[in-house]
Symmetry: C2
């Protein structure tokens, strides 16, 4: 018997899923243990040049009402109509695999519960880190660990911009313009450069690892649009690379502290070597110490590869994978205040300020890293008192 | 109902499994979806100070004949008696999770077939890369990819030695002695420094990715004991770090080419930043482009974490996972000759030799990297003709 699946959306990722499936169909079927085919591709647009003309539909009802379709790849993006479509599929017992981080970050708990109630699966490996296997390793391979912290470079656009500033001495606006020319950044780059995209991804990781839904609105998020070239250069002299880090850690009283902010990553850390559009996720656990997952965080085939891997898993698993799941959160009381984040800090003071030992004086100011850890609140107060032009935490 | 499992061997890894299980028992049981306990620990030695006195046995028959034991963690090491014990467990339908790379590299095909015949599982995540999730991501998350190449730093001892030579200017014998002092290298360090350990691991990866059993005896293996400090320093000047790389790639005619040898890794590659005892595996596929997995490749709790993750999977999977499997090989005809390995090459010629453009002249000779790719055979002939003191391929 042949398993039939549908692809919702024929944009970059959706068309990649179709392409990758037909390219590697033989080995995919071998791994799934069954013959497979795409029965429908949902998109409101016409694709007159596609070799898969007969599969296109503009009516979602064709898919949801077809009992032969047992698995669905959702690659539309955005919360609606994706949420309505995915929920309807799950309610019919069709497993769904998605690349849609907004959907998972906003509605993951509801969709996971719906999948459970209808004995199917809601998979989302592609929603974090694109091609990088991270969701499945986190809940399967590292299952024996008490995970204390996860930190990652989860947005390729900002990492490309920071790399260009670092390697080629470009200013932020120059590097952003280049990223837009190359198709790495959207015309409206807000979601990337202000950290919202990375925020959604750390919400998904936080929910999965710590078991309760974390909403983007509850996570402190700062982007990179304020980063100046002189800080990138000063960080280098002080032995660090500036990276946009999305992280979550356990804090006191059973709380967790997720945050997105630019940080100084020491050159001794493997994370400092993650450049260009690449992403990486570093996981800390009591058994493993630390493990890192690295690869392409976006792009047509890399993301399609993760979606297709989930579709294969969905075909193989006839029952719900309970462990890849989390509870709803009635409130945000388990999300700790950013004031309690502690770190060593980088400061840039105006020229003429009193320079602590180990400072680096340059034409735009005096840069240094504190010896001691300070809370976010204490660092903010210190920055104000000293008239700091920039301050950022150091990644440990 | 509580699931009972047994731990074979109470050395470094086996005692780590016991420690980690009781430390994180609650969350492990939650992830497994059932209560669990260790019923037996097999070891010929006495452990009078262990809090788990009542679980120790010296008789394997206690375990294999106890129908209540449905899962087994094998942490003894070596081919025998591990092979006999594991096979007997699988024949009784008990799933086995192992950290024993010798066992998997020599007998994997037989044990995977036995598991299949008796509807249970033979898992081996811990046999490659210690704590690093690599086996499961390779066959699950990357299932939609046509994988063309896998390359890794798979031995922590040699990576520690090379890091000490690089960072601290130690000679090979000095760095080896330090590794032995710190417990990173055995008294007889042959298996590590001559590449045999890395070879077993690349055999396991090759078998899993390409579907046929690859034996260590058929893999070209060169270690690091001949590496001189002047080559480490010259490689640095030329923009590379020397690493012991175990790799396998597809070659022409449906063959594969596994090999273990020191290589020059360019600083632009994330692999060059993998230092100390850390391991990393880089995977190249048509969907993902490249992905890297990084972490501790050895050690008590890291390895135990991978074994315990497998035990949890074994408890959850009531049926054989067919895709994590490979066929036996009647011959080695699909293993390509090392003569066909192509790369750019590093050469060190005696002082006074004719120096190509871009050469680096130092007190121990003239070092350079070829512009063009050469086969292993051509490079060997060139090395002999020029009287080269050292030559190594460059990692791409």
């Amino acid at each position: 018997m042949s398993v039939k699946f549908a692809v919702l959306g024929h944009g970059v990722v959706g068309s990649g899923v179709v392409e990758l499936f037909y390219k590697n169909r033989k080995s995919i079927e071998k791994r799934a243990g069954t013959e497979m085919d795409i029965k429908y591709i949902l998109d409101l647009r016409d694709f007159p040049d596609s070799p898969y003309q007969d599969k296109f539909t503009k009516d979602f009802n064709d898919i949801v009402n077809d009992d032969e379709v047992t698995s669905v790849a959702e690659c539309m993006g955005g919360v609606e109509p994706a949420f309505t479509f995915v929920k309807a599929c799950l309610e019919k017992g069709k497993s769904v695999s998605t690349s849609n981080k907004e959907l998972v970050a906003e509605k993951g708990d509801i969709l996971l519960r719906t999948a459970k109630e209808h004995n199917c699966n809601f998979f989302f490996e592609a929603s974090v880190g694109g091609a990088i296997p991270i969701i499945r390793p986190l809940h399967k391979c590292l299952a024996a660990n008490d995970i204390s912290k996860v930190a990652g470079i989860l947005n390729g656009t900002t990492n490309f911009i920071l790399t260009k500033m670092y390697n080629d001495g470009m200013s932020f606006p120059e590097a952003l313009a280049l990223a837009q020319d190359l198709g790495y950044a959207e015309k409206d780059p807000t979601a990337d450069i202000e950290g919202h995209d990375a925020c959604r991804k750390i919400c998904i990781i936080s929910s999965l690892v710590f078991g309760r839904h974390v909403y983007p609105k509850d996570v402190y998020t700062k982007g990179i649009s304020h980063i100046e070239l002189c800080d990138v250069a000063a960080a280098d002299v002080l032995g660090h690379a500036i990276k946009l880090i999305a992280s979550v850690r356990k804090t006191d009283g059973g709380k967790i502290l997720p945050a997105v902010m630019p940080m100084l990553v020491p050159y001794e850390s493997i994370m400092s070597g993650v450049s260009d559009v690449f992403n990486a996720v570093l996981v800390f656990g009591d058994g493993i110490d630390q493990a890192m997952f690295y690869g392409r965080g976006a792009g047509k085939l890399p993301t399609a590869s993760a979606v297709m891997g989930d579709v294969i898993e969905a075909v193989k698993h006839k029952v719900t994978v309970f462990s890849q799941s989390w509870e709803s959160a009635d409130d945000n009381s388990f999300v700790d205040s950013i004031d309690n984040l502690t770190a060593r800090w980088y400061f840039r003071l105006p020229l003429g300020s009193e320079a602590p030992e180990g400072s680096y004086e340059h034409e735009n100011g005096i840069s240094f890293i504190t010896e001691d850890e300070l809370s976010f609140r204490a660092a903010s107060e210190k920055a104000e008192k000293l008239g700091a032009k920039a301050f950022m935490p150091v990644f440990e």
